[in-house]
Amino acid sequence: MRFRTRTSRQAVVLAAVAALGAGLLAGCAEDKSDEPGGSSGGGEGGDGGKGKTTLTVGVFGTFGLKEAGLYDAYMKANPDVVIKQTSIERNENYYPQLLTHLGSGSGLADIQAVEVNNIAEVTATQADKLVDLGKAPGVDKDNFLDWKWQQGTAQNGSTIALGTDVGPQGICYRKDLFEKAGLPTDRDEVGKLWAGDWKKYLDVGKQYKAKAPKDSAFVDGAGGVMAAVTGSYEERFYDKDGKVVYKESAAVKEAWDVASAFATEGLTAKLQQFKPSWDQAFSNGRFATISCPAWMLGYIKEKGGDKAEGKWDVAQAPKPSNWGGSFLVVPKAGKNTEEAAKLAAWLTAPEQQAVLFEERGSFPSSTAAYDLPAVKDAKNPYFEGAPIGEIFAKAAEGAPVQILGPKDLIIAQNLADVGMLQVDQKGKSPDEGWKAAVKSIDNALDE
């Protein structure tokens, strides 16, 4: 008898373990199969037939699509679609993960964002894993800036990435500091000071320094100047045939010379962008100018806060130039590629790009959006009501069709964060800095 109860107890335990295990497994399985059912609360129980479609969007940073309310608008118009977003703060962590996911064909969101510095590598190496969006319904090539469209098109002619925003640059400047230094403060006059030549920007810097208020520099750091100058050239790091030419390119040479002149003349606040000390410097007025892409205006407002309110304004850059911008791609491995392509097309359509600009300051890559009043008449109250729509549209249309290459980011980063940083912050000569940068880049490019 005792034996009997023993076995039955064992059996009970075994059954319990089995049930638990099965439950766990089922739990895992359920998660996956349930996802298209949506967490919106509607999909409880019997949505076996036609449930809601869940689309996931993978982005980096605060991409803005969600924040601008575009997902909500789309879900309202399409009640059977649920949109979820996953975000990774820094692109440098986001991008390698995207590559590994594309390589394994799993873990991908239905729509993935790609930064402009990575787009050439994506079109060159991942095109076969991505849906050709050029033929998706609702996509119109003529809506986009030509160069933006080309950047998202692979060698085989399929357009695998749709442009969201671009980064046309102006020069943001502090009116209070300019006034103290005896420089004009009106944005048109300021723009004229350096129109057409980055060297004039340098000259204005020297003028500024001669009468500058104490503890203020002309620019934040030399790295930003270098990025702005390179952004105004067609050929930067790669030539048309895809060869690495940064050592000889005119863009890099001028950018290097001008930026290192800023450093050696003592015109910089020796700050590195996107570091905490850089953030603090905005509200403390440590520098008078910064080349600012459209997306940076929000950043300046956030970091400058009340303390810098009414002190910033924005003028045209010496030459039209572009810095940054993003794309959306649809991986073929996704479950709902058709629905995803539809959403991507909608998100990048002129009307939505205009909303994104209005809400978030990301400048449209869609030329058709430039004529919409939300863009054309846009003014930014934090920057003294500057007509930012007009200023940045002019820069965007004038910006060159840049030749991109797969390792743009690595080259740009090493030039700025190794080479120019040594010149700017460690007092190395431009020659030493250049050699260090080249050594670092050679090592990084060598497989």
Binding site: F3, E92, P276, S277, V418
Partner: protein, 343 residues
């Protein structure tokens, strides 16, 4: 098998008992007993099997996980290190033999990273363990609220690297950092903590020290509390001062613990990654790679430059270096125990 027959052997004897009781009921009783006997056999066999194999089953999960997440990656990394692989297409590998390893000999960035790892390791580990020893000694006294101090000692360890490092970045800021402000009040000019070789390495080390001192303190404290009190008493009777007691009673008793913390800290220092990455905000580790550790260089090659093969080779080089360090540690430990035995 032999054992089984042995346990089975008494059964005839047991089974022989009933016939003496009642020959009439012999047949069904014997059958029932035989069945009972078989059942018992089965049970004891099952029991023995249980005793023999269950321990393996209990430890199996660890080994399964280790195989999946430790051993397999280790071997796969070794395999990848012999190839040219890019993260853009991890499935196409081109065999290059030992090229990824031999190139490390002439890779100045690798040697720089190794040197940084050793320097930062030394200036973080040595003061850290010394301080931990001292703190543990203090906490070992009868203190009011000793529990409170022990918890406090462990809080940095419980803080996330990211949060801690971000705060340290602000503290070490050049223009608005609190440390420079404090130095300024005593007339020292702003120090550029992020760009100087020594200053940045010191700053990174200080984060490590801050995070791990408390942890080691508690380990030392636990070991100290295991030292029998009689030793101190007799030392005191012999007229040994506090310091002498610490030197001649506490330290020798702590020897194995100190060795343990040394090994663990060495491994930790070798793999140092999070602090320098977050301190600089990028994998370059400063404009001149001043605080780029091996872990950071590995990360830069693999996840920034996307060269998985090269990164794998660095990973294996780190692994081999650790094995080497462990060997040295073991030799020293053996020498120490021997000299102890001789004395």
């Amino acid at each position: 098998m032999a054992r089984e027959t042995k346990t089975a052997a008494p059964s005839p004897g047991e089974g022989a008992a009933p016939p003496a009781q009642g020959p009439g009921a012999q047949d069904p009783g014997a059958a029932g007993q035989r069945r009972e006997q078989r059942r018992r056999d089965r049970r004891s066999r099952r029991y023995r099997r249980d005793v023999k194999w269950s321990p393996y089953a209990y430890v199996a999960p660890f080994f399964l996980f280790f195989a999946a997440f430790g051993l397999f990656p280790l071997l796969y990394t070794g395999w990848a290190a012999l190839h040219r692989v890019s993260l853009t297409d991890p499935n196409s590998m081109e065999f290059v033999g030992l090229h990824n390893f031999t190139r490390l000999w002439s890779d100045e960035f690798f040697w720089n990273a190794l040197q940084n790892t050793v320097t930062i390791g030394l200036i973080s580990t040595v003061p850290q363990l010394l301080m931990a020893l001292g703190l543990a000694h203090l906490l070992n006294y009868k203190l009011r609220g000793s529990m409170f101090f022990r918890v406090v000692a462990l809080t940095p360890y419980a803080t996330s690297v990211a949060a801690a490092t971000l705060v340290f970045v602000l503290l070490y800021g050049r223009d608005y950092g609190m440390i420079n402000w404090a130095l300024g009040t005593v007339g020292i000019d702003n120090i550029d903590w992020h760009n100087g070789t020594w200053t940045s390495q010191f700053a990174v080390s200080s984060i490590v020290i801050w995070r791990w001192t408390g942890y080691n303190t508690l380990i030392y404290l636990a070991a100290m509390q295991a030292i029998p009190n009689d030793l101190y008493e007799s030392a005191a009777l012999d007229g040994a001062s506090r310091w002498q007691q610490f030197l001649h009673v506490t330290l020798p008793a702590l020897r194995p613990t100190i060795l343990f913390t040394c090994v663990v800290s060495t491994i930790g220092a070798m793999q140092l990654f999070g602090e320098p990455l977050l301190f600089g905000g990028s994998a370059t580790g400063g404009p001149e790679h001043e605080y780029q550790t091996l872990g950071l260089y590995l990360y830069e090659q693999g996840w920034v430059n996307l060269h998985l093969g090269r990164a794998s080779a660095i990973a294996w080089a780190m692994f081999l270096l650790l094995v080497l360090v462990a060997l040295v540690n073991w030799l020293i430990a053996r020498r120490l125990t021997k000299s102890e035995g001789g004395a």
